[in-house]
Amino acid sequence: MSGVRLLVGTRKGAFVFTSDGSRRDWSTEGPHFAGWEIYHLKGSRADPDRIYASQSSPWFGQVVQRSDDGGRSWRAVGNAFSYEGKAGSHQWFDGTPHPWEFARVWHFEPSADDPDAVYAGVQDAAIFCSTDGGGSWKELPGLRGSETGSRWQPGAGGMAVHTILLDPADRRRLFVAISAAGVFRSDDGGETWRPKNKGLHSDILAEPEAEVGHCVHRIAQHPARPATLFMQKHWDVMRSDDAGESWIEVSGDLPSDFGFPIALHAHEPDTVYVVPITSDSVHYPPEGRLRVYRSRCGGGEWEPLARGLPEAHCYVDVLRDAMDVDHLDPGGVYFGTTGGQLYGSADGGDHWRAIAEHLPAVLSVEVQDLP
């Protein structure tokens, strides 16, 4: 493995950072698509030069960009996301029916073995698939049309499929997470879906342990142990050891169990990273100290990681898709902030360095391991 490439989506463009295996010095390319919101970029594991980018704007809507040369050049591909059949309605904030309306792509998840196959998680919550490299998109309507779909409600940021996990042990199994509906699993390649939220407790709901309605911010899965999932919920850090059939809380001694991202060490399935945020009303780190917290035992016991991170007067947030890991040894961890800082650690979080400090607000960070 010769290096690492970071794909960084921001409020005003995309950036690509590249380094060799030492991860000390980084080259910067960008902004690509200057002035546009780039919710997410993700590369194909089957072909690292193939990258998909979600480019959007309140003015001009959704554009999908694709690179075939590792992010040096791009071309727009298909941006027609049409819900299958009658769109129907979900619940609006006040509980009244609201028609399903496409707004943007939040997340791309390329297939593990076909660069032309990619899933898109969108707002209003649905999952689409392309098998022609993003040229055309087809909804997998079983998710939106599942039994509970008409009861889903948006969170403050909208109602979106923001996480898609493709189970490495079972090609027919997929997980998605939706704010604010919860986790859903398909065991038949995305045709049918069931909610997997047993054990979640959300005081904001009329029924705190309801089947759906939980504001799941992010879920993560380790390829070496695919039945174990970790979750950062609106409040609470959770863990499932039965592929989402049941969840237990592992917030333990975190200073706050509110947050957005959650990530797993590439080589240690029990090493979990979160970034505690003060509360749902105060979106910055507790006491203005930016700290990643690491658990080396699968949750419950957490240690602060602060070396190289701001120790005072830091009032940024870290969004749900803005943390990822590399697969080098020792494993690296990276995250971006709404204040435009991009931090990296080449030793599993023990020491951090700023890779960039003055970017637009960071929306997503994805890591590519380069051959």
């Binding site: 002035g35 546009w36 704007s57 309140p58 003015w59 001009f60 809507g61 959704q62 554009v63 727009a76 941006n79 027609a80 996301f81 049409s82 309306e101 496409f102």
Partner: protein
Amino acid sequence: MTRRRGPGPDRAVTEPHEAQDVRVVLPLHLRDLAGVEGEVSVMVAGSVTQRSVLDALEARFPVLGGTIRDRATARRRPFLRFFACEEDLSDEPPDAELPEEVASGHEPFIVLGAIAGG
């Protein structure tokens, strides 16, 4: 309702089914997306309307599909406005004829992004 404006003093009325070269001004981000600089022109056959101009624009620059009109509803995206001849035509019906000055190529059809700060 359809609107038809008279031709400029030195212009003859355009024949209704003659293909016409219509000038279009796009905002910066759409020019970047389309890979063009400055105005673009599109050939419009038949009546020169918002719909026929935008259809011709999207045919010439497929990447602009969905960026000016919502793909699901075909309606103008809410933060965009249409102007020509110093008039706001945004709320005109899409099949209303545009001013003759646009059809004749004397004036451009302008797609403008709403102003927003921050």
